[in-house]
Amino acid sequence: MPSVRAAEVAVVDLDVCDRCGLCLPLCPPEAIHLDSTALVIDRVACTGCRKCIAPCPVGALAMTAA
């Protein structure tokens, strides 16, 4: 496994997230998971690429320090 970690990772605001699933296929390392209760982002797998941030229709995703 690579030892280099991303400086920033994506986080979800679950109060805003509508669980539509749009961000899942956008994530290159498939670090975002969805189940019947919540969207979950794997902070270890996230590479900080930001591809999920802007497409969120409600702005529920943001970057934070890893």
Binding site: L22, L26, A54, P57
Partner: protein, 391 residues
């Protein structure tokens, strides 16, 4: 622990038709249809529009309780609000997806499938005998279902595709971020759908109004975030509604992603098929997915049943599903995708000019073919674009 022949994950149009067709193909097959949400068809994440001919392959819309409105006209709005009415007759229907999806699921049950609502697949692993062991969580707690074939009809987020090792990722330029309100108390032609393009209105997509009845409509839009000015889809929609329908009451709200790409490279693997949005089986030009999903579900259900009856559910056997899909619609989607790419090079001035040109044609003669021909004559810059459609 339960052993079944076909496990369908997701009771939307793809999953319910897949379950129905698998159960109909062979009465002896045990078919289970899972729905994560507690009610099939809710929440609605859809503009609910469907073409007439495609729908009729699966269900008769005349007088059906799952229809909201018949549509006989299309009104395109240029970026500068110039209206262009296109002459059509049997354009399509606006569905009540909650009722429609429940109707399709009931057809699957009538054919012999076992529908389980409020039941979610949470993971799956392949067993030494080739079957998939799918862990499920539902009202009765956790369980494991062993299936000869799993059909992933679990939408844009498809976890089944991922668990099966299929690549269902999509580039950001091919993801439409959509937002939609149900708006009440507004004035529009209830027999028409309205579509508006514009760089400042819906960059990379379009805005729509789909009537659900007189004065009530699904009003939404899709944008490609890479082309956005920094606002999200909801902010673009708020601006569009404030300008066009300022007096409307927004009584419902939904968001979602529409993949405007082409079919996944591989929609099958050993003992697994993916169908509908999960396999990116969406018209990339229109964003329409309902009929595509039902056609894919029909192929998936029949292919799964036939494979089980021959005792071979390997990837080699299930590859027939992907080939049949590409022949049926997947290859067309590749062509539509090229048209979409060509249209991306056209700006608002082009569409404003085209709208004026088309409005000079008598309304009854405004077929899409004629519009296209006029576009070529009056706008020679369209010719290289048009040439690319057919490459």
């Amino acid at each position: 622990m339960r052993a079944v022949d076909v496990l369908v994950v997701g009771a939307g149009p793809a999953g319910s038709i897949a379950a129905r067709e698998a159960a109909r193909a062979s009465r002896g097959l045990e078919v289970v249809l899972l729905e994560r949400d507690r009610a099939v068809g809710a929440p609605v994440r859809c503009a609910e529009g469907v073409g007439d001919a495609g729908l009729r392959e699966f269900a008769n819309p005349e007088g059906a309780p799952w229809v909201a409105r018949k549509i006989t006209r299309v009104i395109f709005l240029a970026p500068d609000d110039t209206e262009v009415q296109v002459a059509e007759r049997d354009v399509g229907w606006i569905l009540d997806r909650t009722r429609f999806d429940a109707f399709l699921a009931s057809e699957a049950v009538a054919a012999g499938a076992d529908l389980q609502v409020g039941t979610e697949a949470t993971g799956m692993t392949r067993e030494p005998d080739g079957r998939w062991a799918v862990t499920v969580r539902g009202p009765g707690g956790r369980d494991v279902v062993r299936a000869r074939v799993v059909i992933g009809a679990d939408g844009v987020e498809t976890m089944v595709g991922r668990w099966a090792g299929l690549d269902t990722r999509v580039p950001a330029r091919d993801m439409e971020s959509c937002a939609q309100y149900v708006v009440q108390g507004i004035d529009f032609d209830p027999d028409a759908i309205y579509l508006q393009f514009g760089e400042d209105i819906a960059p990379g997509g379009y805005a729509w109004l789909f009537p659900k009845g007189e004065g009530v409509a699904n009003v939404g839009l899709g944008i490609v975030a890479l082309k956005s000015d920094g606002r999200n889809a909801r902010a673009y929609l708020d601006a569009w509604i404030a300008r066009r329908y300022p007096r409307g009451a927004r009584t419902g709200y939904t968001v979602g992603g529409v993949i405007v790409h082409t079919t996944v490279r591989q929609a099958y693997t050993d003992g697994v098929l993916v169908a509908g949005d999960a396999a990116h089986m969406i018209n990339p030009l229109s964003g329409g997915g309902i009929v595509n999903a039902m056609k894919a579900g029909r192929l998936a259900g029949r292919t799964a049943a036939a494979a089980i009856c021959t005792g071979d559910t390997s990837a080699g056997r299930l590859a027939a599903y992907h080939r049949d899909w590409m022949q049926l619609l997947g290859d067309d989607h590749l062509k539509y995708y090229r048209i979409k790419q060509a249209l991306e090079h056209l700006d608002d001035a082009f569409f404003n000019g085209l709208a004026r040109t088309v409005n000079a044609i008598p309304r009854e003669k405004r077929t899409l073919g004629r519009i296209f021909a006029h576009a070529l004559v009056k706008h020679p810059q369209m010719i290289p674009v048009a040439a690319r459609f057919f490459i």
